[in-house]
Symmetry: C2
Subunit: 232 residues, 2 copies
Amino acid sequence: MFDMLAFDADDTLWHNETLFVMTQEKFRALLEPYLTREWTGAELYATEIRNLDYFGYGIKGFTLSMIETAIELTDACIPAHEIQSIIDFGKAMVKTPVNLLDHVPEIIPSLAQSHLLMLITKGDLFEQETKIAQSGLVEYFTHIEIVAEKTAAMYRRLLTKHQLDPQRFLMVGNSLRSDILPVVEVGGHAIHVPYQTTWAHEMVSDHVAQQHTYAELAHLGLLPDFIAQFKS
Amino acid sequence: MFDMLAFDADDTLWHNETLFVMTQEKFRALLEPYLTREWTGAELYATEIRNLDYFGYGIKGFTLSMIETAIELTDACIPAHEIQSIIDFGKAMVKTPVNLLDHVPEIIPSLAQSHLLMLITKGDLFEQETKIAQSGLVEYFTHIEIVAEKTAAMYRRLLTKHQLDPQRFLMVGNSLRSDILPVVEVGGHAIHVPYQTTWAHEMVSDHVAQQHTYAELAHLGLLPDFIAQFKS
């Protein structure tokens, strides 16, 4: 049924968003004594989105956005040594060991025995390569693609590049916006496996989601049986 | 003679290092009133190299290293609004239009008529993709590879991936360390076209360079004739 099973990485194979949420909590605590207005969290998100066009995704852009937000929310009163602490938050994020999600260590090697597997991940090349190397999963993937943005056009290019029939291509991921809807749009199959938290930027409205056909599984442990049913 | 002509991008096809040098000059001027010790430039380079392991190559990592250096060289006395200026330097770098080197607009389309061309560039995915798209050269390259580091192992992987015989592979680039020596090491051909300035990190000693065999051309305009002579 499927010539290629493709997987997203962040929040699909390993934890990622929790690291950003935890760091945001440390950032809030650091800022508290210097705040000249109320902290809502919305300012950091607004800065991140505004800066996507300059920095793209990843920890370095997030760190620069934290610094900008700190300067803004304190009316530039934050001392330089606290800004160094923010840079150190970013460095700690980079060095946080990869933490695989439940079921991943069993199902990826198992599926690799019966299918070709591909990793398609979005974000910072340096950070993604570091995590992929650390994950211990490299040997199971025939192709690894790190892309700047996951759009329908990008999936179309990848399918052409690897000479894959969309009808025989399955993508598994946690983000409706990046892993599911654009794949369905180009005629591929997609399975949504939600992560415990979703970054606001990756959310889509129910209205948009309902116009697309895809499956949803509660966790990756259910994937092998789900795929097997297509054979019968 | 050659099945594939591969090109580096930064400082081979378009100007890059000059942008870093110019920004470093703006950074020095900004810091001047706050300096608690003498500015030598060596501190910024030391911070960059120390941070490579955290941030990799590119403008975002460079910007974070400028901020760290500013905090260090001013004993944390630099005001936050000056740190915002440093972030703005980084943003201005990202938005600087791509400026092709001399001869590039003629020789790349011309060589593409007789050879398969490939782009192999190191650095930040987001920044490289932006520059590649802007360059107007995309259509001439059969393959575009953005990698985190250019080592012999990486070139070996690329040659295998594209089923290329190293003996029939030619790499053209400005960095002995990244474009020339590792290619010669895996049995490929390489042409060194020096750029007007070389980042200290990309320099290699004469002793190391002399152990490798490669050609050197003064500018890219000489490349078509150089390649043509291999046919006769």
